[in-house]
Each structure stands twice: as structure tokens, then as C-alpha cells.
């Protein structure tokens, strides 16, 4: 489930009206790292699958923003 969070550093011009944001992060979805899906992956129950939006646990990515604490209440 670990969303691999990557960071990039936007250019901050001296004429920026607001204080610059030095580092911006984005989360990369798990399917980037999986390639062709292997068979017999571990699955959610149907009800959970309806909530998480995917049938296979490995693809579940709630895509939390960096400012949002990852709520682990509902799923793995």
C-alpha cells in the first residue's frame, strides 16, 4: 500500500508574489511498479472492493495528500 511519494523542487523566482514552496511531492500509484499483473494476487472482500475501488490489495492507493494524515481506519 505504500504509495511511493516523490518530490520535485519548483523554481522560485525572486519576483514571486508569495513565499515560494520549495518542495512539492506527488504520490505514484502502485500499478506503475507492477507491470503485467501476476495471477492470484491477494484480493479484498467484495464489500471492501466496492469501497476501495479495486479488487486487488496491491493496487489500493487512497492517494492521500501530503498534508492529510493517512487514515488507516478502513483498509490495509
Amino acid at each position: 500500500m505504500s504509495t511511493h511519494r516523490r518530490v520535485w523542487y519548483p523554481y522560485a523566482s525572486p519576483f514571486d508574489p508569495c513565499p515560494p514552496i520549495k518542495a512539492k511531492t506527488y504520490s505514484t500509484p502502485p500499478n506503475l511498479f507492477l507491470g503485467f499483473q501476476p495471477p492470484n494476487l491477494e484480493q479484498f472482500t467484495p464489500m471492501q472492493a466496492l469501497r476501495t475501488g479495486t479488487l486487488w490489495k496491491v493496487f489500493y492507493d487512497p492517494w492521500y495528500s501530503p498534508y492529510e494524515a493517512p487514515r488507516e481506519d478502513d483498509h490495509s
Partner: protein, 86 residues
Amino acid sequence: MKQLPKEFYAAMEELQAVDFVLVDLTLYLDTHPEDYDAINQFNQFAKERRRLKKVVESMYGPLQQFGNSYSGYPWNWDDGPWPWQI
């Protein structure tokens, strides 16, 4: 306007869950035609969906048209509540 029984909502949610599983499995099987277990699972869920459809339709009425669902008497597929109203 007829109100839906309480157990309709649980059955409908279960039907939606099974439908979702079937959609995901269909997409998976499009790229994995030889996956025997997945096909078994697909057929089990297809069978399960038929059972669930009867349960839901007994309370709600026809879900689909053009012969995909039996009709009540009188012709009632256009009766409320509509899917976005349940």
C-alpha cells in the same frame, strides 16, 4: 409513493459489490485469458449475481429492460424510485 423495505438497501449494496467484482474480473480476464482460478471466480460471482438479482428485484421491481428483467403487472419498469432516487 411506495417506500422500499429496509433490507432492500443491504441487498442492493451487496449486488453493487458483486457487480463491481464482476467488472474488475472482466477487465482482468481480458488480459489474462488463461487464468483458470479467475474464471472460476468469475463464474461463481456471475451465479451469485443471478441469485442477488432475484432478491433485489423482488423488492424493487425490474432493474433492467429489454428482457434482462421480468416485468411485474402492470408494466412497471418506469415506476419510481429511479436508481438515483433510491
